[in-house]
């Protein structure tokens, strides 16, 4: 049904369109809804930027007055010679032109005539806009249109770094899972997830929702830092692989003198690993012209924190095992188990793994399979004051040519270094309230002010997607995360797994694998 909402009363290529609404209730229209404006030669595909009740003197006079037994004017009570006397307006932003004859799409470089009809977009309209191809799958449906699943092109999404931004509680984890599943389902690459809250394995520890391995048992491997997790392969960091930067990034209370001291120890440690070298410093042999004794003692105390990390020990190199699996096309979920609440562990492990991956991928110079590294709390690695100590800055800027792609997940995009943010080819932005975060998440985007309004007002479980993985910037209602939805819309019937298979995986999971 092509439901008319109003007519165009003003238009500008730079400022957008204004429609006089014929709706009984302005609440029927929301920011971000897609609207079609019927021009003569083109259909203007627009997004609702704002809904407005203009300031009326008569409204001010009537508001609060004690008129008894009278009809207070509203959108429906007083029809005038030119339609409703009290009407709302919608500010519309043309996004694409659809040629009525050829159906070709083009940029919105012109305006529709006065009184052009504005109507709700229909499923037919949006089907002409959004491309579906063998690399695409939906993460949800478009807002303001009858059920229509919007596809993202996961091949394009994983070609360059991308970001998923939104404040806590808005559904970022669900979206992450859907994106990961889309990447796997469309075989756009493998993923590496630092699973702080044990959500991505077979089942989520918190809510028992299905994880990546549930859907792709043979293509997802779960490693765990926590020895109590017997269902996963153990993850070990050999102290040999620890670099000064790993300590600096993970221990945020190191002073500059302490940092210098660590570098000094690293320079002189010989074949000893860095941690042991720090622990074994003989106070009597310290050259106090280079390192002050009190600084060494402070560093030693802080290094003591690593004693709690049972995964820091000698043994089989888990990293090599992971890399072999990635080469084999498998994805990795690194479960943090009980360490999940310790920020230091996360920063420490992620930095070490990312550095080794970076070195490996650069060395292989594009011959490694595509791997998308999902980095939650990205700003903690990419804040300007810490970014120089991590590999993530370079990872974001350089590694797309080596097939190592960074996906930044964050609720404070304003704290991510500008240069890194500018590398993001796609942005999936959920509700945020902090103006600086909203502004940063949309930096460089056309019509930024419109999107700032949208991002500031969209509800939970809604995401604005913009970039080359989607034809036009779009506000999407994230689909409910259920096995039915995932199988039907993302994996597709042919890839869905049988109950027998699930049972088999569950049995396998009880086996402890020893490496």
């Amino acid at each position: 049904m092509k439901a008319k909402i109003g007519e165009i009363i003003s238009a500008s290529v730079s400022e957008g369109l204004e429609a006089k609404l014929e709706l009984d209730n302005p609440e029927d229209l929301r920011i971000g809804y897609p609207i079609i404006v019927e021009g003569n030669s083109y259909e203007f595909y627009c997004i609702v930027e704002d809904v407005v009740n203009k300031n009326l003197e008569i409204a001010e006079r009537l508001a609060g007055s004690a008129l008894r037994d009278s009809i207070i004017p509203s959108g429906t009570t007083h029809e005038g010679y030119g339609g409703r006397i009290f009407y709302s307006k919608a500010v519309l932003r043309p996004i694409q032109l659809i040629d009525k004859e050829t159906n070709e799409l083009s940029e919105a470089q012109t305006i529709p005539p006065y009184f052009a009809e504005a109507r709700h977009a229909t499923k037919d309209d949006v089907e002409r806009i959004y491309e579906v191809n063998k690399h695409s799958a939906p993460v949800g449906s478009i807002r303001g249109v009858e059920e229509f699943m919007v596809h993202l092109d996961f091949k394009k999404l994983t070609e360059k770094p991308f970001g998923i931004f939104g404040r806590t509680g808005m559904g970022k984890s669900i979206l992450n899972k859907l994106v990961c599943l889309g990447i796997l389902a469309k075989r756009a690459g493998s993923v590496l997830i630092f699973d702080m809250h044990s959500e991505y394995g077979i089942y989520s520890r918190g809510d028992n929702m299905e994880g990546l391995k549930y859907y792709f048992p043979e293509r997802v491997e779960v490693f765990s830092l926590d020895p109590k997790n017997t269902e996963a392969k153990p993850f070990i960091i050999n102290p040999r692989d620890i670099r000064p930067e790993d300590l600096i990034v993970s221990m945020r209370d190191l002073t500059q003198n302490m940092r210098d001291a660590i570098y000094e120890v690293d320079r002189t440690r010989g074949t000893e690993d860095l941690v042991r070298a720090i622990r074994n410093i003989d106070p009597d042999c310290v050259d106090e012209s280079k390192i002050h004794l009190s600084v060494i003692n402070a560093v030693k105390r802080r290094i003591g924190r690593l004693d709690r990390f049972s995964f820091v020990r000698g043994g089989k190199d888990t990293f090599k095992q992971m890399v072999e699996m990635i080469r084999d096309g498998r994805s990795i979920v690194l479960d943090f188990g009980d360490y999940g609440t310790d920020q230091m562990v996360y920063l420490f492990v992620a930095n070490i793994l990312a550095r080794r991956l970076f070195n490996l991928y650069v060395e292989k110079s594009g011959n490694s399979p595509r791997l998308v590294v999902f980095l939650e709390e990205a700003h903690k690695f990419l804040e300007p004051e810490i970014a120089s100590y991590t590999i993530f800055n370079r990872l974001a800027r350089e590694t797309r040519k080596f097939n190592l792609i960074l996906a930044l997940i964050d609720q404070r995009p304003s704290r991510i270094d500008d240069e890194v943010r500018s590398q993001l080819a796609n942005r999936l932005v959920m509700s945020m309230k902090e103006p600086s975060d909203i502004s940063s998440s949309l930096a460089g985007l056309q019509d930024r002010s419109m999107w700032e309004t949208i991002i500031g007002t969209i509800p939970a479980r809604t995401v604005a997607v913009m970039g080359d993985a989607i034809r036009i910037p779009t506000v999407i209602n994230i689909m409910e995360y259920t096995p039915d939805n995932v199988r039907t819309h993302i994996i597709g019937e042919t890839d869905s797994i049988s109950n027998d298979k699930i049972d088999k995986i569950a049995k396998q999971a009880t086996t402890v694998l020893d490496f």
């Binding site: 008569i58 009537l62 007055s65 008129l67 008894r68 037994d69 009278s70 009809i71 207070i72 004017p73 429906t76 009570t77 007083h78 029809e79 005038g80 010679y81 030119g82 006397i85």
Partner: protein, 345 residues
């Protein structure tokens, strides 16, 4: 007395004003209102009101060349129904009529009979062009009213103004009343002017009615109707259509004259809009529509420029003759002087 408002005669001035105010009060008290002669009747809004067709017109001048004025008259008839606590427009009819008038007798003599009659009637006043155009507006309203009365049945037909005609040669009210009778339409004329003295008292009618409360109507004394200027086509009432309404309106009832309660209760049903409490909303809307002719002035001017070719007038003639809404030429020298004066402020 030496005038010195801010100086030594201040006390004298105050005393003078006080004396005059006292006189005003005394004279007013001496003219008691004979409430026995005023028969207020209460009524309420009909719960099942007939549809209302509201008619109103307006005009704008466009051009003034050589004692001739070109204007556009716009008249609309809007049919409303009152349902579900709202006013719904269900039909409308409108016309835009270009009218050329002249205040130069030999030119008028070459024009239509209607032009000549109007000139005879209104052509000698100081603002003759406005009065004449207003007469044309009245005539076009009559044509639309007649059409509406014939087309619509069992409705209220509401005309802006009194049901009176002041020129027997152009009296269309009789035909309208007749058409209303044939179609069972209630014909009313609603005047916003209640500064009359129908009750033979120095107080204006409005002041007298202010004393009353609630929804009521009152018929004017017989002598007032008998002595009415022009030809009257209805019985004259004053009515307050809503208890919180700020104003009484004169309502002339042209048909169903002997059932004023029925007619006025139907009208009251359309008079409870918060936008114009106590005034029929359809008439407000008909007025709003009619005056849009002034908002379209630029459009009509563009039309004139497009049509100069072959008309014998040049674009320069048009430019020189453009007028303001009320017919004064834009290029008139006093307009220039006014502008300079404003700019110099």
């Amino acid at each position: 007395m030496k005038m010195d408002a801010g100086g030594g005669n201040h006390g004298v001035l105050l005393d003078g004003i006080k004396t005059q105010l006292g006189d005003i009060s005394r004279f007013r008290e001496e003219h008691k209102i004979d409430f026995n002669a005023i028969s207020f009747k209460g009524f309420g809004p009909s719960e099942d009101a007939l549809d209302m067709v509201a008619i109103d017109g307006s005009y704008t001048f466009l051009l003034n060349v050589s004692s001739m004025w070109l204007g556009i008259v716009r008249v609309g008839a809007l049919r409303y129904s009152h349902k579900n606590d709202g006013y719904q427009l269900i039909d409308s009819e409108s016309v835009d009529v270009p009218v050329m008038i002249s205040t130069w007798k030999s030119i008028v003599n070459s024009q239509s009979e209607r032009h000549q009659m109007i000139f005879e009637h209104k052509g000698r006043s100081t603002q003759a062009h406005k009065d004449m155009m207003n007469e044309f507006r009245y005539c076009v309203e009559g044509e639309i009213a007649l059409s509406a009365c014939r087309k619509n049945k069992n409705c209220i037909v509401a005309i802006d103004g009194a049901l009176a005609s002041y020129n027997p040669d152009m009296d269309w009210m009789g035909d309208v009343a007749q058409a209303c009778r044939e179609n069972d339409n209630m014909l009313i004329g609603v005047s916003k002017d209640s500064h009359t003295h129908a009750f033979n008292n120095p107080r204006r009618d409005e002041e007298i009615f202010r004393i009353g409360n609630g929804i009521a109507y009152v018929r004017v004394p017989e002598y007032f109707e008998n002595n009415h200027r022009g030809t009257l086509h209805g019985a004259i009432y004053f009515a307050k259509f809503h208890k919180d309404a700020p104003k009484w309106f004169r309502v002339d009832i042209g048909t169903f004259k002997h059932e004023p309660g029925l007619v006025l209760s139907n009208v009251a049903a359309y008079s409870n809009s918060g936008l114009c409490l106590g005034y029929p909303y359809p008439l407000l809307e008909a007025h709003r529509f009619a005056v849009t002719v002034r908002q379209f002035k630029n459009v009509f001017e563009d039309m004139m420029f497009d049509l100069t070719e072959g008309s014998g007038l040049s674009a320069g003639d048009i430019l020189e003759g453009l007028t303001f809404t009320e017919g004064n030429r834009k290029s008139a020298y006093h307009e220039y002087i006014d502008k300079v004066s404003r700019d110099l402020k």
